[in-house]
């Protein structure tokens, strides 16, 4: 019987090795897999490359992971936030590498990895600093930059409900990067608020089919809610 549920977040992330590329879902707190990030912090893998829209804020979650200095590089669109002091300090002292990507190119590059696309021409960023040194082309009178997929070893995401096949549904704008990161990683680990019985999720409304998900951990709501 297929059963992708694992008992704990620590078991779920236990095989993440030094040097791994790890995507982390979420846009702000919405869709942020807080418990999985905490498990990754406890888990001790070093020399990580992290893909997230931001670069952490406050002193918990992704910021706490960065503070361990086990992240070599971050690929994101918006590192600077009002409370991104952990990233800011590491960046200014040269202790973390930053690949800054326009948010839509970030999303499309992740999607391209999941979809087996080798590269694509995007109009976003053409003529800007973020396209410097990149291949460009004019197609039908419009200018484009060539961008490459971002693959990951692991994706850590948060969904609302999941079943033992790994089918997922999300909640409101917490959907954000979850479905595309799930498709772009060799191993996708989802924390869900609630386990659904097989057949309970409407087949018309499943957003991430289980084929993209390898491990699921149930983290009930009470534990998930946290003070921001």
């Amino acid at each position: 019987m297929i059963d992708k549920f694992v008992a704990s977040v620590s078991e779920a992330v236990s095989d993440i090795r030094d040097g791994a590329t790890v995507m982390i879902g979420g846009f702000g707190q919405a869709g942020m897999p807080a418990e999985l990030i905490d498990a990754l912090i406890a888990q001790k893998a070093r020399d990580l490359t992290i893909v997230n829209n931001n670069a952490g804020n406050g002193d918990t979650g992704l910021a706490a992971l960065l503070a361990t200095k086990r992240v070599r590089k971050i690929i994101c669109s918006f590192p600077r936030q009002i409370d991104s002091w952990v990233f800011d300090a590491l960046y200014r002292s040269g202790e973390i590498e930053l690949e800054l990507v326009p948010q839509g190119n970030l999303a499309e590059r992740i999607r391209a990895a999941g979809a087996g696309i080798g590269a694509f021409f995007t109009p976003t960023g053409y003529g800007t600093l973020l396209a410097e040194g990149k291949e460009t082309r004019e197609i039908d009178g419009r200018h484009y930059v060539l961008e490459y997929p971002i693959h990951a070893d692991y994706a850590l995401i948060k969904a609302d409900r999941g079943d033992r096949f790994g089918n997922l549904v999300y909640r409101k704008t917490a959907r954000n990067f979850g479905p595309i990161m799930a498709s772009a990683a060799k191993c996708t680990i989802a924390q869900v608020r609630e386990k659904a019985e097989l057949g309970d999720l409407d087949p018309e409304s499943i957003v991430t089919p289980g084929i993209f998900v390898h491990r699921v951990v149930e983290i009930p709501m009470r534990a998930t809610r946290r003070v921001a």
């Binding site: 918006f78 600077r80 948010q103 839509g104 190119n105 999303a107 976003t124 954000n176 990067f177």
Partner: protein
């Protein structure tokens, strides 16, 4: 270390918006440092500017409002007009902020502020959301700016200062995505320099992407021949505007 020990440099005025428009407006809102010229000048208020933009957005339009000054536009959309607001983090038909106590941490806008959903709204993932933007499906986006060039180049994401931590968010996608890109900004910096320029000195967000500029002095259309003045604030002459704006301006056709 606690947050209180940290320098407050490079912080976003609205706290972590993804539209990357740090200080693209607001330099002018304080009287301190304003030039005598700008102090004396007749100006549209920020609400007048927002109302003027709102007037140009028709029934049925799909619109993304950038953070900062552009968010004011939402308050001025005519009540009877159905206009659908998109946010790049995956929501269409956003409603106003929830009443206190009814915030949902899973329902936020691109500035990570709580919002609501109107009937007929929908959610989608990030790749679909930016496909919607990049594919030209939005009718309008309204953005703040540091500078706009006479040919419609936009600079609104980065000061280019050597110690700046760069952050771009969705700014470049918005700039090239919508059918009409409107810019709302003060006409002059606090030093009295025009933010409308021949060539942007700040790093670009997008090339030839702006269609119309709304400032506190005028409304101008980007055309192949220069900026066509659509509106002037009462009491300001075309020649006065032209003196303040170092690019080719075209008079409104009589």
């Amino acid at each position: 270390m606690s947050p209180r020990d940290r320098p407050k440099r490079e912080l976003h005025p609205l706290g972590g918006s993804e539209a990357a428009e740090p200080r693209a407006w607001g330099d002018h809102t304080s009287a301190q440092g304003s030039t005598a010229a700008s102090m004396a000048m007749p100006r549209y208020s920020r609400d007048q500017m927002a109302a003027r933009v709102a007037r140009d957005i028709p029934e049925g339009a799909y619109v993304n409002l950038g953070i900062g000054l552009p968010t004011l536009v939402a308050n001025h959309l005519p009540k009877g007009r159905e206009i659908l607001l998109q946010s790049e983090n995956g929501v269409l038909a956003m409603g106003p902020a929830p009443s206190p106590g009814n915030e949902d941490p899973d329902l936020i806008n691109a500035s990570k502020q709580p919002v609501t959903l109107l009937p007929g709204g929908s959610f989608f993932h990030h790749a679909d959301s930016f496909a919607m933007m990049r594919g030209g499906h939005l009718d309008f986006c309204v953005l703040g700016a540091f500078q706009v060039s006479v040919r419609g180049d936009l600079a609104n994401w980065h000061t280019g200062e050597p110690d700046a931590i760069p952050a771009v968010g969705g700014a470049m996608d918005l700039a090239i995505g919508a059918k009409h890109v409107f810019v709302m900004m003060e006409h002059l910096t606090k030093r009295g320099e025009s933010k409308i320029v021949e060539k942007c000195t700040y790093p670009l967000t997008g090339v030839r992407c702006v269609s119309r500029i709304y400032t506190d002095l005028a409304v101008l259309d980007v055309t192949a021949e220069g900026l066509a003045v659509v509106d002037l604030v009462d009491g300001l002459s075309f020649d006065e505007l032209a003196r303040l704006t170092p690019v080719r301006l075209l008079r409104k056709p009589a």
